[in-house]
């Protein structure tokens, strides 16, 4: 124990003596460990931390799954009939609840407001083990068709909109235009399933539907003594029996998995972030190992004396490792401080994007992780130098002059490794940034960036008749078109062509091969009002645009983009040809009445089919588009006033320019790319420091040689070339290794590149140039200094 205390004391003294080394080491450790702990705390919070429910590990998520019908990585819940089957047949669960997140319009004394809410079955809150703060939960009586409409409020909504007045219980508010009685308020922060702040019973709003409408989430609590695997097995058996009875259940099975509600981030993102910070920490370790090797070389005399005086090698290693671990634990403590700042920033940035049950904080698990990483890091960067330094040839070391040149192959290899890792990170960040730039690049062919856009959601029960929504939109557009400052006003809605299966997602075209039709088929058609093309400045190429005569009941018509028409009908006129917007035979034939210009996105023509908005029936969500004669944002008050004048309970959402919308859509990707870029920049800085250290150390070791060479006629450029040559070889090897590593790694991370190729030669070339220039500076500084060596001093030092 005394020895340990003495080691610790000596380590502190030694670190205090080498202040520059200690500061550099502490800062790089703080950043390296801090980045790892931050990402760990994110992953922990998002993927591993227990949900805030009693016995959360007994909760399971029940869902359907199909290897053939689902796109890769797509998730699906179950249908209403599916939920009923499970509820009635499954024996593994004490309770089963269904839910679906939905937006609601609430109105009453205050302005209309859109609120994120959910339909939940009566069993849901009890099975989660969550009691209301005020009032009561839903009962089976509430949760049945024909029951009196009731609603539960989230605590935040209760406090904000109703001033926290307990008398709200029993009062009536309008939800989607229908009066509902408030029966309870849920506790603070409870927003099940993710972002809901208001709940209505499931059955009255969700019952019915076909088995193919697999929209609902299902949560269940396992009975005592039933494991997830047992429940899973039972779900498969039930699915098999359903598949035998119902054709639409063929190719589908069911699963029970530990309840996580949803994947907040894709697994590959965790992997990439953990990989990036892991690389950063490895570079930190390599760097510090290099610095410690150099320090060890400088301390060989001291260590030789200790050994000569009877110290064992083990004691010397322990002595040196104590220093490394003290450093890394202190660096880890600083890193934790950085983590707490980073988490605060992330919390602010992602406040409305992270589900409520995710608690981002530095908890006990994170602390244990930070301590563990610190100790492992200390061992990682300290062990090799300690082992190396503890085996000097005592006799030779004590006899040798201090300027004997010792080549450090290990340090060179460490620097090559650092450079390669930095290159991989930089290439990863580069490819990622390029792919973000690619997806964020505006399409060509139409002019929409300066349009004002806003969303209408026709949630109120009275809009169940789609013609009412049609009429409302038409009235709003008519008033907007006449408002001052408005050049064009139009609206569009998405009309999905297909389901999840690849085969379902195809149009059919008369006179065109089905494989050709599939190759140009969009996923959805746009239901557009007559002024849409003018608003977007999308030119008409042939035929006519939509007009007021294209309405429900008249001949169904469509417009497609020019390229799609060319491909489908091989350059012949598409006018008068017919298509079906989907693969089902039951769909009506739609006649092509015109073609419009192509919209090119990322060098690829995106195919679009347009139908008259007036002929669509799925128009719960409608987007307004307005072109102004000045600043588009100046139209915001006008739009709000016009919408309110038509329907005071209809909120207009996300009112912004298309440019703003795109920016906010891509912000998470940009943030992600920038985070990776920051890691890469830090990695390069570290690698440059490491390279600088090796070259400077080498130059210092060669002082005498340089002096001799200068005396023998070497000029500054000769000395610079000599010293830089060694560093240059390391850089070259690092870049080669890094390029190979990048190609391998980016292949693995292909899924995260938004369709970009992982082998991006311009990015690789740019990355190699950036790394080379940084490395050149790191080499040039010590090489230049070496060239200024006074040969007299150098030779005298011998």
């Amino acid at each position: 124990m005394d020895a340990l205390v003495s080691d610790i004391r000596f380590a502190f003294r030694s670190l205090a003596k080498s202040r520059t080394f200690t500061i550099v080491a502490l800062l790089s450790l703080a950043l390296g460990i801090g980045a790892n702990v931050t990402v760990f705390s994110l992953v922990n919070a998002l993927a591993f931390k227990a949900l805030p429910f009693p016995e959360a590990d007994r909760l399971v998520d029940l869902h359907e799954f199909s290897a053939t019908k689902l796109c890769s990585g797509c998730g699906v819940g179950t249908s209403y009939p599916g939920f009923v089957d499970w509820r009635d047949n499954a024996r593994s669960f004490s309770q089963i609840g269904a839910y679906i997140e939905r937006p609601f319009n609430i109105s009453g004394a205050e302005n209309a407001e859109r609120i994120g809410g959910a339909l939940v079955s009566a069993e849901t809150f009890p099975l989660l083990g969550v009691q209301p703060l005020l009032g009561r939960s839903f009962t089976r009586d509430d949760d049945r068709a024909g029951a009196a409409p009731v609603v539960m409020l989230g605590e935040a909504l209760f406090a904000r909109r109703y001033g926290g007045d307990r008398r709200i219980i029993g009062q009536t508010i309008r939800v989607n235009g229908v009066p509902h009685t408030v029966i309870g308020v849920m506790p603070p922060r409870f927003r099940f399933p993710e972002f809901a702040d208001l709940w209505v019973p499931f059955e009255p709003n969700a019952a019915g539907g076909t088995r193919e409408e697999r929209d609902f989430g299902v949560v269940a609590r396992l009975k005592p003594a039933v494991s997830v695997a047992m429940a899973n097995e039972e779900m498969r058996v039930i699915a098999k029996s359903l598949a035998e009875r119902f054709p639409e259940q063929k190719e589908w099975t069911a699963e029970a998995t530990t309840f996580r509600i949803s994947e907040a981030l894709p697994g590959s993102l965790y992997a990439a972030l953990l990989g990036a910070v892991g690389f950063v920490l490895l570079i930190v370790c390599a760097n510090l190992a290099g610095l410690l090797l150099a320090r060890g070389a400088g301390r060989q005399r001291e260590i030789a004396i200790r050994l000569a005086l009877g110290a064992t090698r083990r004691r010397i290693v322990r002595h040196l490792l104590t220093e490394s671990i003290i450093l890394s634990v202190a660096g880890g403590a600083l890193g934790l401080l950085l983590t707490s700042w980073a988490i605060e920033i992330i919390r602010r940035l992602a406040a409305d994007r992270v589900p409520y049950y995710v608690t981002l904080d530095v908890d006990r698990t994170t602390l244990v992780f930070a301590l563990g990483v610190s100790i492992v890091t200390g061992l990682l960067f300290g062990l090799l130098p300690a082992l190396r330094a503890s085996t000097p040839d005592v006799h030779t070391t004590l006899k040798e002059s201090s300027t004997t040149i010792k080549k450090s192959v290990t340090r060179g290899m460490l620097v090559i490794g650092e450079l390669a890792l930095a290159m991989i990170l930089l290439a990863g960040a580069g490819v990622l940034m390029r792919s973000v730039v690619r997806i964020a690049t505006p399409e060509r062919g139409h002019d929409q960036l300066d349009l004002l856009t806003g969303d209408l959601e026709f949630l109120d029960a009275r809009y169940a008749d789609s013609t009412i929504a049609q009429h409302t939109v038409a009235t709003i557009l008519e008033r907007l078109q006449n408002a001052p400052g408005v050049v064009n006003a139009s609206a569009h809605s998405f009309q999905f062509i297909a389901g999840f299966g690849r085969a379902d997602r195809s149009i059919r075209a008369e006179g065109a091969d089905s494989s050709v039709a599939r190759s140009v088929s969009p996923r959805f058609a746009f239901g557009v009002t007559p002024g849409y093309f003018a608003t977007e400045k999308l030119p008409l190429r042939a035929g006519r645009a939509f007009n007021a005569q294209d309405r429900l009941g008249s001949q169904p018509v469509a417009i497609v983009n020019q390229r799609m028409a060319d491909v489908l009908w091989r350059g012949q006129s598409p006018l008068g040809r017919r298509i079906k917007l989907g693969s089902a035979d039951s769909l009506p034939w739609v006649t092509i009445v015109g073609t419009v210009g192509d919209i090119t996105s990322r060098d690829t023509v995106t195919h679009y089919a347009y139908v008259p908005f007036a002929q669509t029936t799925h128009n719960q969500n409608v987007t307004l588009l307005l072109r102004s004669d000045g600043d588009p944002l100046s139209l915001v008050p006008t739009v709000r006033a016009v919408v309110r004048s038509v329907d005071e309970d209809l909120p207009i959402l996300r009112l912004q320019t298309v440019r703003q919308q795109r920016r906010s859509d891509y912000a998470p990707y940009q943030l992600y790319a920038m985070t990776m870029g920051s890691f890469a920049a830090f990695a390069i800085l570290l690698a440059a420091i490491g390279l600088y250290g090796v070259v400077a150390y080498n130059a210092a070791q060669r002082t005498r040689e340089i002096g001799v060479r200068i005396a023998l006629g070497a000029e500054a450029k000769d000395v610079i070339a000599m010293i830089a040559g060694q560093g240059g070889r390391l850089v070259l090897l690092g870049i080669l290794l890094g390029t190979g590593g990048s190609m391998l790694l980016l292949r693995v991370l292909r899924a995260m590149l938004f369709g970009a190729s992982p082998i991006d030669l311009p990015v690789f070339a740019a990355v190699a140039v950036v790394l080379s220039l940084t490395a050149a500076l790191a080499i040039w500084l010590p090489a230049r200094r070496a060239s200024l060596i006074d040969p007299l001093e150098a030779l005298r030092a011998d």
Partner: protein
């Protein structure tokens, strides 16, 4: 002692045209260190000439300024005052680059500690001065081979310095000093680390090189070694306290 008139202008890039006369002419060379305790003179008013083909020994006690004077003559030291002409070129008025050029063209060094490069073989050590003098690789190989032959070291060309005795190492040091055919060899206690018979061999070698026309200036503590030269310059406390010769 005759001195040369300083030329009116000196190009910064190229040495001015040589003027025939002594190899070295010094006038009032002084080297001084400023210390908190005041000025410390290392060399005081050193003046004199050395003619081409001379073999001069600089002697004196430790700290007399011998090695400093040698470094100034070898243009390794530029922090001094006074006038120093080398082959008529005013070294005191030259840029660093010009001095390096003059050094490269005309001067070879032999050090007490040999100063061979540990990681290079004998042949590679000999190649160093040539590599800094724009000599083609093929020519360099031929010159190195000739020199190895001349110094009887062909069998040792692939050995590293640590595999040689002190005498052999110094032999390589001398060979390296002469390989670029300098007009002047500056030797700082060339036998200081050698035992007497090895030292004598090196001195004989110097004498032979001198007889072939190379000017040699050596710093030595050894009266015996000094006798190999024509003249002795004695230094004490930075001053020239005596100059005698011809000797031997």
């Amino acid at each position: 002692m005759a001195f040369f008139t300083k030329p009116a202008t000196v190009s910064r890039d190229a040495p001015p045209a040589p003027i025939v006369g002594p190899l070295i002419a010094m006038r009032n060379i002084e080297k001084v260190f400023e210390t908190p305790a005041g000025r410390t003179y290392v060399l005081r008013r050193i003046s004199g000439e050395i003619q081409p083909g001379e073999f001069v020994s600089i002697m004196g006690p430790s700290g007399a300024g011998k090695s400093t004077l040698l470094a100034i003559l070898g243009m390794l030291d530029s922090a001094w005052n006074g006038e120093f002409f080398f082959l008529g070129h005013p070294v005191h008025a030259m840029s660093h680059k010009q001095r390096v050029g003059l050094n490269k063209e005309h001067i070879g060094f032999v050090f007490q500690q040999y100063h061979l490069i540990d990681d290079l073989t004998v042949a590679e050590n000999l190649d160093i001065p040539l590599s800094y003098r724009n000599v083609k690789r093929s020519e360099r190989e031929a010159i190195v081979a000739d020199t190895l032959d001349k110094f009887g070291m062909v069998g040792k060309k692939d050995l590293y310095p640590r595999q040689l005795s002190g005498g052999q190492q110094q032999l390589v040091g001398v060979a390296r000093a002469v390989i670029a055919k300098p007009k002047l060899i500056l030797a700082d206690e060339p036998t200081g680390n050698l035992h007497s018979s090895q030292g004598r061999e090196i001195m004989e070698l110097f004498k032979k090189l001198n007889s072939e026309g190379t000017t040699i200036i050596q710093v030595t503590h050894s009266e015996e070694n000094a006798k190999f030269g024509h003249r002795i310059i004695e230094l004490k406390d930075g001053w020239i306290t005596g100059s005698e010769g011809p000797v031997g």
